[in-house]
Symmetry: C2
Subunit: 316 residues, 2 copies
Amino acid sequence: MSCFVAVDIGGTQIRAASYPQDSLTPYKLNRMSTQAPGSTPLERLIQTIASIWPVDDNVLGIGIAIAGPVDPYRGIVLTAPNIPGWEKVPLKELLQDKFKTPVCPGNDANLAALGEWKFGAGKGHHNIIYMTISTGIGGGIIIDDRLLLGEQGLATEIGHIIIDPDGPMCGCGGHGHLEAMASGPAIARWVEQELEKGRQSVLSASQPVTARDISMAASQGDELALNALHRAGTIIGIAIVNFLHIFNPSMIILGGGVSQSKELLFEPIRAYLRSHVMTPNYLENLSIVPAVLGDESGLMGALALVRQSFESTTKS
Amino acid sequence: MSCFVAVDIGGTQIRAASYPQDSLTPYKLNRMSTQAPGSTPLERLIQTIASIWPVDDNVLGIGIAIAGPVDPYRGIVLTAPNIPGWEKVPLKELLQDKFKTPVCPGNDANLAALGEWKFGAGKGHHNIIYMTISTGIGGGIIIDDRLLLGEQGLATEIGHIIIDPDGPMCGCGGHGHLEAMASGPAIARWVEQELEKGRQSVLSASQPVTARDISMAASQGDELALNALHRAGTIIGIAIVNFLHIFNPSMIILGGGVSQSKELLFEPIRAYLRSHVMTPNYLENLSIVPAVLGDESGLMGALALVRQSFESTTKS
């Protein structure tokens, strides 16, 4: 039998699984923490893959999702902010030498988009914007059934589009980026500022507020929390209006922790779109839906990538 | 012999030309005003095409660039703001019935991008953003050697991305769109406002200012005019930073009247990019160049489109 291996590596956890050639049900799945004394993240990555390596099967390829910018053409991890020492790691080459099978690395948010398109909320669509809104904001874009990668593979840094040139500083050093204004921490920061101004809320200024707290408070009708999600929805709405005018997609998929607020976030987004698209045509066949793969999105994306790569190789 | 016909129709002028199958030198070229008493724009369009129709040659197809949004899949002109009565015109069907050859309509800015990529400044590149900055701001985007069209063909309305949600009203009714802030009329409006405030300039508040006047004054060192182009360059720079982070192209092509200001506009754009991209990688292999096809861009784009369509039909 033949199978694929899919891997997802972030700053906290490595997950690897082997899948039969045409199935989404893994033969074997294993997790390991990325960082631990006595071994490097790369050694732990190799160990995790080895732990799920099939004994009798022919592995057709390894797909791997990485939390950081990746050069997908050369298979180099440019940097992985949460994995110590990962700068310009030639991961494709290293893992191919080790496992003697083709290795396809990709950025995790890009691959999450691919996963949602192939196996999740976006099945059957051809033009999709996927956004993940949590500690950061990332995403991936499918155009005419192809993942947008760009000349060097640096495309779809959609958390880093400028919403307000004079806005708050972003983790990347820029100003007024979408991520700096509507990510979980950005929403929490706004609520904390409002609390400091003396606004009433079930949330308290005496302890750090999280986006999760805000979502819960909003679902209980807390006005400040509702305002915070409405504000975030409006800001995300600005970004999405731009994406509609640029890409004219048929689906927007929203994933990540902040999207768990569902309609409390989605409704202000929809309201902004209704009043700000150039013509209603952009909304006619547009679905705005939550991501469905959750924590599996990286792994599913890596699987989609390696399958796609295998199919295109065998076809040509 | 076989040939292609290319057509460009705007509010003022219709141009049509016939080209040998593998040449950019037309057999015949004709122009006609779009509007005149006694005939409709459609009748005049048909007349212009008929006037360059080859006597002995086999016409393999007609490509046609239209100043307005087009559904390129169904071949319907959705609306053409400057051509009276053109709302939902099934142009593909109408012209196919008339001329008995395949007809490929497309938006003129989209096709200008295609033309610059195939025959102009973008030859050999795979990922290009083309922007035309004149009375309006439009453009076209090439990704992996394909024109971005979107689900309904409404993609790349790049003049209508939001730069400042509280900014001036756009012709489309939106607020703070790129077009409302950095098109020729927007630049002129800003200069007029500054003149009214009493700022010194060779330009005069007593008569309407045009972007062309500003460009000339700037080239003579007029400070207000230089400020106006610097301001426009910065605003266009914001848009381009977003496009770099979204698309990671290898080339930005700038066309349209305002781009004639060349370095007076390009330098502030470059300066903004240098200080605002997430990482210098985005600029490493990036060229920012003027369009080279000028007034020919629509016609060349229409030719590129019909050729491409013919080749893809004969291949499959």
